[in-house]
């Protein structure tokens, strides 16, 4: 835990409020980057929410990460429209470009993490990827290099 003070503040904001576990975890993750075991244990001690419940929620939702993430998040859409527009070759191009081998999702320099997501809501521009909050559409595998370069 790098930001104990900030975490305490977030806990203070949510403690005792019903239904606040998800936003609590979301905010903690925003400042910590991910939810480490120690962080979850600490949250449990401070809030009296059972650690099993915290872990259960953190593993249920794809938004929560139990491992450190890259600085930039690349979401490759694998929704229906993108799938039929050959999203697989886009994913391959992204992985090749970042030199990720099978099973890895984060580059060794921790600059990029690649995720597969189901639909970014821009299906008419399929295939689509999103880097942080920016969406790129009508992609070809060749276009990936230029786009990723902007974030290097």
């Amino acid at each position: 835990m790098k930001n104990k003070k900030a975490i305490d503040e977030i806990i203070g904001k949510y403690i005792g409020r019903k239904g606040s576990l998800i936003p609590l975890l979301q905010e903690v993750q925003t400042i910590e980057g991910y939810l480490a075991k120690d962080t979850m244990r600490y949250l449990s001690e401070k809030t009296d929410i059972n650690i099993a419940q915290i872990y259960g929620v953190a593993t249920f939702y794809t938004m929560f990460h139990l491992k450190p993430q890259g600085k930039h998040i690349i979401r490759v859409c694998k929704g229906t429209a993108c799938h039929v527009s050959d999203a697989n070759s886009i994913l391959k191009a992204v992985q090749n470009n970042l030199q990720l081998t099978d099973g890895e999702d984060t580059t060794t320099d921790k600059l990029f993490t690649v995720m597969e997501v189901a639909c970014l809501g821009c299906c008419s521009l399929a295939p689509v990827i999103m880097i942080n909050d920016n969406t790129y559409g009508k992609l070809t595998p060749e276009a990936i290099e230029e786009i990723v370069k902007k974030y290097n």
């Binding site: 929620v57 929704g79 299906c123 689509v128």
Partner: protein
């Protein structure tokens, strides 16, 4: 003469480069003599020609251009200002002939009435379009019973997928006695291939807030949530702005329109789980738990969020409400069919020419949606099927394109209306692969509560994978059907109950493709990589050695300037040789 220039800045526009177009215009107007007001709007639905810019003048003349770029926009503005608008890439206009005019004219815009027309971040724009007049009308002059009666008479059915009558749902929540009631807007839009809710959220957020407020007033709720998926950052931002503006103007908060009606709305960001679109799972998620569906009954109208009576509707459902109140149920039922009145917004995507959002009256044939409004196929390749209803739906083949779009007719085909995502497929799509794709999706998204949904979908996926890899047996098809029927019977929520639909419909309409995979070890669409074969076409190969150098597993041999050869046993079917060959000398079959 002062001009108004509007740029479409929804997610689709931004992804196509509308942000740069906007800033180019902004910079230009600072220096130019041309007087123009630069405005932002959202998505008009013509996503295939984004970025879109509308130029209009005080006398009402309007031209909307598509495919605009930072390079050509200045020329378009200058020509317009000189009174000689350029007649190229015109999408809509009342002074020039636009190629797409007709396509918009085939539509009926109730839900999308303001999308792409007003600035979504300006409540003044919404008010100018009679915004919040419906809320004022119900609060000051209608009884709760009258409102519910009006919605019931309109026949509006929930647009979130199941098509349950909205008025009836409101009546149940109204009748439940409790000191506290909630309303929820389901903006989780999980169907991969559907984006109409996003467009409404980004393009006309106040219409949703107004619909929710009318519902809250009618059922007696004073607090509500909008559950919006986190993948829609722009929608979340605009919702936040809209709520703050509505609170400031007194349309939300305490004593709305000087009555004793109070309403507080909150936004809940989804955390990435498809099953949370299911209403009871969604409530679990708002309560801060794992989003697992609960047994119904009790239904949300009796015991919903934190055990209190709750009404939940979809984004598009709420967006209809203010229009119905203002124009009356009779006007609404003029559109659509007897059992499915009104309009439906569809998100057209895939291999269709005019991909984007359209709103058409219920009851028009699928054929017209695809060929008239949607402009037909994108390429020369013929139509094969259209997928409706996402992971819960099915693929409808060409023979059934005369089916009309309403809840009951679509159900008869084995697909479902769902939220309105339509993904059009051509001959390059493999139907077995599509079935596998959806099953992979539902299998990943199953919350794990019901054994049949958790394990059964996994077994089905294994069988489908086996078939796409050329290891299927003909008995597998029967096994798939049996598993499917057990999963439907043995699952608690809609996710499991409908998960087999994509498999069942493709089995029903495209069985020959399954058989080709199993018997001939062949993928007719050339999609399933394991069944592909790459071969050198001898009379085309000049022996340039490029393919041999690019092959990642070194399975291509041959001397320079001589015909090369691919070792089929070592080939991993990556397609690298096919992609790099400059002489089209590799045959993929």
């Amino acid at each position: 003469m002062e001009l108004t220039i509007k740029v479409g800045l929804a997610s689709c526009g931004l992804a196509a480069g509308a942000g740069e177009v906007y800033s180019t215009i902004e910079k230009y107007l600072k220096k130019s003599k041309i007087k123009a007001e630069l405005k932002k709007t959202a998505c008009i639905g013509m996503c295939f020609v984004e970025p879109l810019v509308e130029i209009s003048s005080e006398n009402g003349n309007t031209v909307t251009y598509g495919d605009v770029s930072p390079e050509n926009i200045i020329e378009l503005i200058e020509a317009y200002a000189k009174g000689k608008p350029i007649n190229k890439n015109v999408i809509l206009s009342n002074i020039l002939e636009g190629s797409e005019n007709e396509k918009l004219n085939n539509q009926t815009r109730i839900v999308l009435r303001n999308c792409g027309i007003i600035d979504a971040e300006s409540i003044e724009d919404y008010l100018e379009k009679d915004g919040y007049k419906a809320l004022e009308k119900v609060v000051s002059s209608m009884s709760k019973k009258d409102i519910i009666e009006e919605i019931k008479r309109s026949g509006l059915r929930g647009r979130g997928g199941a098509g349950f009558p909205t008025g009836l749902k409101w009546e149940f929540a109204y009748r439940s006695k409790s000191d506290k009631k909630y309303i929820i807007c389901n903006a989780d839009e999980g169907d991969p291939g559907a984006f109409m809710d996003r467009s409404i959220l980004e393009g006309d957020p106040h219409s949703i807030l107004e619909g929710m407020a009318i519902c809250a007033f009618a059922i007696g709720a004073d607090e509500g949530y909008i559950y919006c998926r986190a993948e829609y950052p722009l929608a979340l931002k605009r919702l936040n702005i809209a709520i703050a503006q509505a609170e400031e103007k007194g349309f939300l908060g305490k004593n709305i329109f000087n009555s004793d009606f109070d309403l507080n709305l909150h936004i809940k960001e989804g955390a990435g789980a498809f099953v949370c679109g299911e209403e009871t799972a969604l409530m679990g998620s708002i309560e801060g738990e794992r989003g697992m569906p609960r047994i119904r009954p009790p239904f949300p109208a009796q015991s919903g969020l934190w055990g209190k009576p709750t009404n939940i509707n979809n984004v598009e459902t709420y967006a209809n409400i203010a229009w119905i109140i203002m124009n009356g149920a009779d006007e609404f039922t003029k559109y659509g069919t007897e059992k499915s009145p009104g309009t439906k917004v569809f998100a057209l995507a895939g291999k269709i020419k005019n991909s984007g959002l359209i709103e058409v009256p219920m009851g028009i044939p699928l054929k017209d949606v695809i060929y008239d409004v949607g402009g037909g196929m994108k390429t020369e390749k013929p139509f094969k099927g259209v997928q409706l209803g996402g992971p819960s739906g099915g693929c409808i083949p060409a023979e059934l394109l005369d089916t009309i779009v309403d809840y009951d007719s679509i159900n008869k085909t084995g697909a479902i209306m769902g939220s309105g995502g339509m993904v059009v497929m051509d001959q390059s799509t493999c139907m077995v692969d599509i079935a596998k794709f959806f099953l992979n999706f539902t299998q990943n998204e199953s919350c794990g509560k019901c054994t049949f949904c958790r394990v059964g979908t996994k077994r089905m996926l294994e069988i489908l994978t086996r078939i796409t890899e050329g290891n299927g047996k003909i008995e597998d098809l029967e096994k798939l059907e049996k598993l499917a029927s057990n999963i439907i019977k043995g699952s608690l929520c809609g996710l499991g109950q409908t998960a087999p639909n994509p498999v069942l419909t493709t089995l029903r309409y495209f069985k020959d493709e399954y058989i080709a995979h199993i018997k001939d070890k062949r993928c007719p669409a050339g999609v399933c990589t394991s069944l592909l074969r790459y071969e050198v076409i001898e009379n085309k190969c000049i022996g340039c050695t490029l393919c041999a150098r690019k092959c990642p597993v070194n399975c291509i041999s041959g001397e320079p300037k001589k015909v090369h050869y691919i070792d089929q046993d070592a080939c991993i079917k990556c397609g690298a040789c096919y992609d790099v060959c400059k002489f089209d000398a590799i045959n993929k079959s």
